[in-house]
Amino acid sequence: MRATENQGSFLNRISIRRNQVVSMDGNHEQELEDIELFQKHVADRFSNLLSPSSSSSAESPSDSILSIAWLRKLLDTFLCCEAEFKALLIIGREPSQVSKPPLDRLIPELLDRVVKALDVCNAVTHGVEAVRHCQKLAEIAVSALEQKPIGDGQVRRAKKALNSLIAAVAIEDRDGVGSKSTERAWSFGRRGGSACAGSKDRTAGQFRSLWWGMAKGWSAAKQIQAMSSNLVAPRGAESTGLAHPVYIMSTVVVFVMWALVAAIPCQERTGLVTHFPVPRQLGWAQPIISLQEKIAEEWKKKEKKCSAGVLEEMQRLERLAQSLIEFTDSFQCPAEAERLGEVAAQVAELAETCRRMEEGLVPLQQQIREVFHKVVRTRTEVLNVLDQVGKASTTPTI
């Protein structure tokens, strides 16, 4: 038996009391101001996210809500809020304040949420890979259909790619359907169709292994659910002081992660909550609540359609793919000029969407990594502060 086990109690019962400086009341004013500023900034930043830049038109909204560009902005917003929050919580603050009630409960809860968010980041990163996969299939279709004149060969090629795309997209709603990949699975994907029938061909297993990058049984929906539990606005006496910013930051974390999960296909999203109980009367929360409602609407639409969508570019991809498949199904050489014109427009749109994905997905992944880092760093710093005040015993051990 190790000596450590005997002495586990020693070194885990750290009770360090550095000399505690009594907080001066003069700082109180400053603190209140900082908290108010934080609230305002949060409200402002999320307001910006509500209205995409004026330069984008309805036809080609490059950063409409839930587009890749918008998600990147969302992550930027998150990083700004996080940085400000960290400054509020740690810098120039007496460590002991961080351990007084109700913070002694609220901060560990926030840290716990934050750790769950790390797993969400990882899941979404895998999801972005899946989206890129769809993008590449779409690019095949584009390159086939862009050729002039369109002949049987190109159409068949496009059809094959588009069918694979649709099959991939439909897979998400099937979980754990043990499709053993057959040795000689043909690549002609069957239509996914509206009934969400998961095609059991080789593509099924492939996409599942692409998306299901997380541990078996891990569920994004459940993770978000767990993160949003205990998310309760502080009331009464608690609502002054740091408890409120902690609540704000918690809400921001949960919202951003939820938005990511809603947008990007990732492991096991069925049953994703669509509503967080953020009190409507909180001023700073209005933009977030509005965004939440918009995204929830898109999510419900997606669930009806059994699509992988919500991400604006994915929705476009799916829509165009379906339409182009119809074209390929009914294609006869030579095709009518009018029809060809329509198709060309759609192909162009598809190409544009792919281009945006090509430009934005890898940077999005990098940003997610950055979020991961910053969050880890902040957590470490907060843990250090907590340890200083000897509250190690009340926080999770690992």
Binding site: T4, Q7, S15, L118, D119
Partner: protein, 611 residues
Amino acid sequence: MEPPEDSKIGLEEAEEIILRWDSTASDEARDKMIFDGDRLEVDRYLHAVDRIQRSISSISISDDQAKVNSAIQIAMARLEDEFRNILLIHTAPIEADSLTDPSSSTHSSSAASSSGAAADFEDDPYEDKDDDEILQRGDSSNSVSYRSTSSIREIDLIPSDAVIDLRSIAERMISAGYLRECIQVYGSVRKSAVDSSFRKLGIEKLSIGDIQRLEWAQLETKIRRWIRAAKVCIRIVFASEKKLCEQIFEGLGTAIDDACFMETVKGPAIQLFNFAEAISISRRSPEKLFKILDLHDALMDLIPDIDAVFESKSSESIRIQAAEILSRLAEAARGILSEFENAVLREPSRVPVPGGTIHPLTRYVMNYISLISDYKQTLNELIVSKPSTGSRYSGDPTTPDMEFAEREGKTPLALHLIWIIVILQFNLDGKSKHYKDASLVHLFMMNNVHYIVQKVKGSPELREMIGDDYLRKMTGKFRLAATNYQRATWVRVLYCLRDEGLHVSGSFSSGVSKSALRERFKTFNAMFEEVHRTQATWLVPDSQLREELRISISEKLIPAYRSFLGRFRNHIESGKHPENYIKYSAEDLENAVLDFFEGCPVSQHLRRRSH
């Protein structure tokens, strides 16, 4: 039948061959694979494809062009299926044997690695001894350094004739503009092969949440397994996949082999590193230090291989992630050491150790820093800042300070170790004050400081870092404690045996006050019995120290008693009930001293020599 020659095959004939193998058209075409069958047929088919492709530039009539394009699409669809089929046939996860024993070079599903295998074969890099003995009581096992020179070993995953076929297909697909399809097929089949290898290596998919919930002991096992698996993954599995991509795709276009490689391994690589990353962000606590250092060292060892295997621009993110994890592990190690120091300083237990023996904290700390000295190669690189000690001018009673002399010419790590010993003693000093008996205070310190000295002397690395100067200082300290103990206990006992106050001038007796003498004897007996009873239950674990202490006591006690007896026994024996006063002979006392510091109680009465 004449074997068809490339230039002689006509366009129509080529088209016919292609249409014959259109799998959407006939069952027969669907059920058979070209590349499974007759090599002549394979050649014919490939020539047909080439012929058709060549004709694109020369055909101008749009009808014919459409026909040709259609034929190309059929051919490409076919080739895609053939490509997939060849890959599937030759996909078997790397056999377990070749994963654990790098010196074996052949096994069933991969060809002999002689062809093109570049590797330097190093002695078994899997020599990682399981360091189960961490922090066992009293021992520090020799931990084998996890640093070995890198040894990438590429296995031929697919036999070379199949590789040639794959390449010839890829060539044609790429030049027909079907690169994307080719990459997709390749990536999907090879990725699932890598996944199977991962499963065989026991690489688990664990979320950060999962890892948080596990006990550290379980995690240690997983870390060990991960280290072994990661080496194989990077040096063999990934390296071999890269080689395969090069074999098939090199020179066929710009960085196509890179694209295929990343398509295959990006997901698995991220999955592999996620585990190490999760460990690097786990909460810091002292017992984690050594496994984290193991992980750090193993990863550091792998970095050159990671950089080599993932050298392309598109795989930059993987290299970056590995470097990030490494730096986080280093930070974690530093943080843990710092936390350990704090914990030692502030360890708050107040319950005094019975018998004044070695405190468990002392044992734990000394074992811990012995192990640290085993890891000094790594820690010397990681620990670059000096410990933050108290200042002798701060007057802060809660933190000791470290004298300048102790800091001369020492590495930061050595300074930390000395500092840990300083604060250990500081803490022990505080604990010693909880003993009610002043003698026990000193005995306790003597025992513990002596133990520290013995542990340092027992480890050459530790001794070298701590330095003989400080060792001498500590030796002096425990000797002083021994002296203080003796003073605290025995001065008053021996006081009973002094001469002054016994002689009375001008009285009836021969100059000695009998009553005073009787008092003296009674007091001495009582005191000695008390001390004997009490201090028999005290413990000096180190036998040599115990002996020395007893001898030192005897040296002072026995002659004093003997001489006292010699001078004054007559006066007692001439009075009433001498046995009440002279209870013990010198030999009795000598024997009694043997009971001291044994740690067990003795019977109430001392053995007496019967008069």
